[in-house]
Amino acid sequence: MTIAPSLDVDSLQAVSTHRDLDRAARRVLVTNWRTRATVPAAKLYPHQWSWDSAFIAIGLRHLSPTRAQQELESLFGAQWRDGRVPHIVFDPGVAMDAYFPGPGFWRSGSSNAAAVPTSGIVQPPAHALAAWAAYRADPAVARIRGFLPRMYPKLARWHHYLLTQRDLGGAGLASIVHPWESGMDNSPAWDAPLSRIEPMPLGSFTRRDLAHAPAAERPTDLDYGRYIRLASDYRDAGYTDSPSVHAFAIEDPMYNALLIAGEHVLADIAAAIGRDPAPHRATAARLTSNLMNRLYDPAAGMFFPRDVQTGEVVRSWSVTGLMPLIVPGLPVARDLVTTALNNRFRLREACPLPSYDLTAPDYDPSHYWRGPGWVNTSWLFWHGLRLHGETTLADDLRARLLQRVHETGFREYVDPLTGAGHGSDGFSWTAALTLDLIRAA
């Protein structure tokens, strides 16, 4: 005779909590859905953002596999002729001045075949991961829609742009040319390279971000003036990529780690549709070697960005340096985990994973990318932990992330020690990745 296992109260409670959280997460995603894509947040971010859509698709696939595919198709429908995927695709139905810098600033013209107004910079390439996740949620539906055969050449062109036009250091890594391209807009890692940039005069533009969030949590006016300078110089150079155009050029660990993970996935996608996966595997191996040689500091057990203009490493302990954990076969995975466990990031307690060194004098738990934690970088680290067999740490991080979101809501970013929520509420990728974490059990 068998004895039925007894269900303890804690696990029953967790199931009930997760069910409510799952419903609430889906409410955010349906509320922020705009017919073919999802806005990151209804007020602060009223258009489609590139890497947001990737993380959103990873969760949206649990609500609707079709929508997850549409999310990515909508973004790549505005892909530029040169292969770049713009960081914002503007919704023509939203007022031109609802977001700054808007379409009038970027003047993307006919840079994409559809002539959809977009920005001219890019964001981290999490899209191949998202496409594969969307496909796997319902392969039958994806096959009917021809999803992978349609997405594969677009994803390949996107990566090709980054691997060629953006290899500004000539060392076989992609460079970002604006802090916004890192996704971690205001990270202290960009302070030194950014300080060389002459800011645009304050009166020459009007910020829109301050209407939706306290100024103390947003970038300063001086930094904003530098952001606008970099963006307008790039625009005025016709968005051509060369070291002479880009006063700011950085080889960023997370950016390149996503590119490498993406190449691994492109190999899987290629194989699934009868194309040759080998070139993607070779690219991934080459980039991993470059990443190790250029950006890894063995003594620190950490990856650091490299400033292409000066050739110097930027020794800033920001979360970007932990993100290469998502690279399959990374030879220093265990060292990175050790670094994440130490006082700077306190993996076992801090949640979400802090965006910046908890022990740094300028650590600020409420300031945009200067301390608080984001669910997307935490999700990536969780994904990396699972990839490298660190299942106990992964399960623990997952449980605490879900608890955090349950207590704080679907905020844009969170104080990793107190759990105080910041930025936008009803933030799409927080909701989407919550759905994914719930269903990863």
Binding site: V15, H18, R19, D22, R23, A24, R26, R27, V30, T31, W33, R34, T35, H62, L63, S64, P65, T66, R67, I438, R439
Partner: protein
Amino acid sequence: MIRISCQEQLLPGETLQDKWEFAQRAGYDAIEVRGRGDFAFRDRLPELRRAARDGVPMPSVCVEMLHFFGAFDADLRRDAVAQMKSQLSVIAEIGGPGAVACTPASYGMFSRRLPPFEPPRSEQDDRAVLIEGLTELGEHAAREGVVLALEPLNRYEDHMVNRIEQAVELIDTVGLPSIKVLADTYHMNIEEDEPTSALVMAAAHLGHVQVSDSNRLQPGAGHLDWAALLGTLDAIGYSGHLAVECRLRGEPVTAVAGIPALLRRHSVGVAA
């Protein structure tokens, strides 16, 4: 866990008890009965009472008439109101607490998309008629402890209430909690910018849901995104039935038996 009911005419069997036997085996949770005019529904009371006593759950009635409370003709309007009041009373007796009686504003009476395009009654007068009818029916529903569900129909079937937000606006104007919105996935697919967004906006007013695919056939036969629809209904806390009201493609018994599995396969809630 979603709850699915099936309209009685789609189920094989002579009696409601036979139909329920079949429905249960196919995975349905209830039967939606149909209410004909001339007090035919009231006249079925002995049959309905026997079925209820035998445990057949019948939480809703869908009206089956050709004139409704928004009719141009005053006599037809009066009759429609009398019929609906009777149906509300009958479903209160056999349907249990929270039972639902469904009605559109009109059906097949006028379409602004078909000649002669301009209806014989002004929009203002349409509205007055609808509010008067809803008030009388809503008050009766409240007395009976049941819900009147107002169903928007697509533009070719009704010229007054096509979208969920129009129904919500009328219900808010009348101000009776006994009147709710009926969301029908087929009509929504034609009329709403985005059906799931309409559901989110109407969440507090949603009283009943009828399901059929984009082509009016059984769920799965058309192109509706069932995962998104069912995931949204669960997310906004809708706990009523999904009543299957459709035409059937293929062998009817097989077709109707396959619907619960299709819907449950695309229901995205986290299991208890």
